[in-house]
């Protein structure tokens, strides 16, 4: 059964096919997922306290993406930046954070006509493996299949992936990838990568 979190955050009927990396999905060979236009990202959020999130930010910097560092708290980002920006126009953001910042940003985004369109939960397991539970369009999941060989570089791989998240909102699928990954000393047990993007039919409550 889909969890409430998945249900609320993806907001479309999931295909409910827990696709593992071994189910025959083949990785995208090159370029953006199926050549779809990627979601324009106004900011990509990372958490300065966590090594994996810092590596994620480093890769984004290399790709030329606009990054914004937090230390768990999104208050400044929201009050001094996003609130005004989203009142002018909804625009996508992405990130690799703990659950709390995403929880806040998602709910704030709802009122500006946006939804979480891609989410991946990354959980360090005690057995030295990392479980990546991904929910998003099949295009994105296809792109993510090579996470299985990314090991400690998983967050850099996610950085690339998030910049390719398609702007069109496709039906969500699910996939789990488990890879041997040693836990970074500063990382929490669980991180989440995500993309929030404008959704055509969603209402915009905010007053500009």
């Amino acid at each position: 059964m889909a969890s409430r979190r998945e249900f609320l955050q993806i907001g479309v009927a999931a295909l409910a096919l827990p696709i593992s990396a071994r189910t025959g999905l083949t990785p995208a060979v090159s370029g953006p997922a199926n050549q779809s236009v990627p979601t324009p990202l106004y900011k990509v959020i990372f958490d300065q306290r966590f090594l994996s999130s810092l590596a994620f930010a480093g890769e984004l910097r290399r790709l030329g993406a606009p990054i914004y560092g937090i230390k768990g708290d999104i208050t400044d980002l929201w009050f001094h930046d996003l609130d005004a920006r989203w009142k002018r126009e909804p625009i996508g953001i992405a990130g690799l954070t703990e659950h709390g910042p995403l929880f806040c940003l998602e709910r704030l985004a709802w009122d500006h006509g946006m939804r979480v369109v891609y989410r991946a939960d990354h959980t360090y397991r005690p057995d030295g493996y990392m479980e990546h539970e991904l929910t998003g369009s099949e295009e994105m999941l296809r792109e993510a299949v090579d996470l299985s060989s990314s090991g400690a570089n998983w967050s850099s791989r996610m950085a690339t992936l998030l910049t390719r998240c398609p702007a069109n909102r496709a039906q969500a699928s699910k996939m789990t990838v488990v890879t041997p990954t040693a836990r970074q000393p500063e990382d929490p047990e669980h991180l989440v990568s995500w993309v929030i993007a404008p959704v055509g039919a969603a209402r915009k409550f905010s007053r500009s």
Partner: protein, 529 residues
């Protein structure tokens, strides 16, 4: 399409059309995708049929549209569940108590109507969040503080009518309000206090008006939809100072709290403080772990000795002082005198903050909410894949004896229920409200149906245990409103019967928030009581 209880598909379709005519078709939500956003993110009914899911939502933009919605609901006997910004997490969020209700979402009504920094008040609509009002004050360079709830994305009106609390001298949010505009269940608009006087010049200044004071009937209430509300604001103080008082022994809690009560009831300390102990947050070392593992637990003397060896007090309180620098310095000096009779007491003075504060200095505040700046930092505390919590929140007397008794009683109850508990027991006790302590227990929400069922039973058990000792909840999640109201049972539930009489008179069709706080309208009373 989901349906409200007792409403036919044809009637509901017609009602939806009329709602669309009233507020605009884009502001009536009936698709599962839209309506699901109103489900409780912290629901204790995950994956269960009992989860109360709305049938639709409607978002009016003004009081006339609210009136129209209420009249349509009356016509088709459709239950409405009013929310302002829907951020009442831990107490039900934006979800109704009765499944199939239509959510009346007021977040489009987000106008700051007036802020006065000469007599220090504001008049706002229900969709105005603490962030919104704070921004308005900053943009207009006004010399007033708000008192944000923690977190600050909620509505001033929503939090106040649910009797939420904050941290500054205006921390009792319902007590800080002055004047309401209310749409009654028949669709009529009423203004309370001086607002009933046409052209009143003191709606936000003198709260009582003339005749019976009715505002309390619209808090934690299903008797009206509050569409405007005035709030008294705190004049920006010159300075903010904190001082921490620590005492070495467990039983020192009694004189410590007695001193605190004197300072608060004398208006020397006016902000929220809470009784804390390092035993709540210390990372256990080998010695503490061994102490706790002893059969029957460690003795009080052993714990006191352990803390003394680490130069830590057994209890501490951080006193907040707001006002002119000379005054807060004198207040702190007086507080130290007041506690100096406790053997071994120690004092630690915090930094003196001056206002207005330079925006670059903001990070210096560990908790900006205490100085009137809204925040979402509580969500940045960290943790795993949290699915939320519900709050068990009884009120206990502001005495050390009561706190120690509550600690013992709740520890025993937790143990009997087989629930994990820390070495103390809760957040707080905190002085969010005058003359008493608020105690908060977070009950985790799980993915596991059986665990949630067990937690709900435990929650109900705690409500009863508290009531047996004379402690009642000040507010609760929708799932437990009936149980809490059951405990307010003096003289064969005279209070609830009074509420029901009023409810039936004002809302004969039972359209506004049926079941809220355990008060059901006549047509649903038998089925749901």
């Amino acid at each position: 399409m989901r349906l409200p209880p007792g409403v036919s598909s044809a009637d509901f379709s017609e009602a939806v059309k009329q709602l669309q005519d009233a507020v605009g078709p884009e502001w009536v939500f009936t698709s599962d995708e839209d309506v699901d956003l109103y489900r409780d993110s912290y629901s204790p009914f995950w994956h269960e049929q009992e989860e109360p899911i709305p049938s639709a939502a409607v978002a009016p933009d003004g009081v006339e549209q609210v009136q129209a919605v209420v009249r349509i609901a009356n016509r088709y006997k459709i239950p409405l569940w009013t929310i302002s910004t829907g951020k009442n997490l831990g107490y039900g969020g934006s979800a109704p108590l009765l499944g199939g209700s239509v959510v009346l979402d007021l977040k489009r009504m987000n106008r700051v109507l007036e802020v006065n920094d000469k007599n220090h008040y504001a008049l706002v609509e229900p969709g105005v969040s603490y962030f919104d009002l704070y921004r308005y004050i900053q943009d207009h360079k006004l010399k007033v503080w708000i008192d944000p709830a923690d977190p600050g994305w909620g509505s001033l009106i929503g939090n106040a009518v649910d009797r939420g609390g904050g941290r500054t001298p205006m921390r009792d949010h319902f007590d800080a309000h002055c004047g309401m505009e209310v749409v009654l269940p028949n669709g009529e608009v009423m203004r309370t206090g001086m607002g009933a006087l046409p052209n009143s010049k003191t709606w936000q200044q003198y709260r009582y008006g003339f005749g019976p004071y009715v505002n309390g009937m619209f808090s934690q209430s299903s008797l009206g939809v509050v569409t405007k509300m005035g709030f008294w604001l705190f004049p920006e103080p010159e300075a903010y100072l904190t001082g921490t008082v620590s005492v070495p022994k467990r039983d020192d809690l009694v004189p410590l709290v007695a001193g605190l009560a004197y300072l608060m009831n004398s208006s020397i300390v006016l902000g929220t403080t809470s009784v804390a102990s390092p035993l709540s947050f210390l990372r256990p070392d080998a010695e503490l772990t061994a102490l706790r593992a002893k059969p029957g637990g460690p003795s009080t003397q052993e714990m006191e000795h352990y803390l003394q060896e680490k130069n830590l007090g057994y209890w501490s309180i951080e006193l907040p002082f707001y006002g002119p620098a000379k005054v807060v310095t004198a207040q702190w000096e007086y507080a130290k005198e007041k506690f100096s009779g406790i053997e071994g007491v120690t004092f630690k003075e915090g930094a003196m903050h001056r206002f207005p504060v330079d925006p670059n200095d903001l990070p210096q505040f560990q908790n900006s909410v205490a100085v009137g700046i809204p925040s979402l930092s509580v969500f940045g505390v960290g943790g795993g894949r949290s699915e939320g919590h519900v709050w068990f929140s009884p009120i206990v007397p502001m005495t050390g004896e009561a706190v120690l008794e509550a600690q013992q009683v709740f520890n025993d109850a937790y143990r009997e229920m087989g629930m994990p508990i820390g070495p103390l027991f809760f957040l707080g006790p905190a002085s969010n409200y005058p003359r008493c302590f608020l105690v908060l227990f977070g009950f985790p929400i799980e993915h596991d149906v059986e665990k949630n069922k067990k937690n709900r039973e435990n929650f109900k058990r705690l409500i009863k245990v508290a009531a047996e000792h004379g402690w009642g909840e000040y507010r609760t999640h929708t799932a437990f409103m009936e149980t809490v109201m059951d405990t307010y049972s003096f003289n064969n539930h005279a209070l609830r019967r009074f509420h029901e009489t009023v409810k039936d008179a004002l809302d004969p069709n039972g359209i506004l928030s049926p079941g809220k706080c355990g008060i059901w309208p006549k047509n649903m009373r038998k089925a749901n009581a």
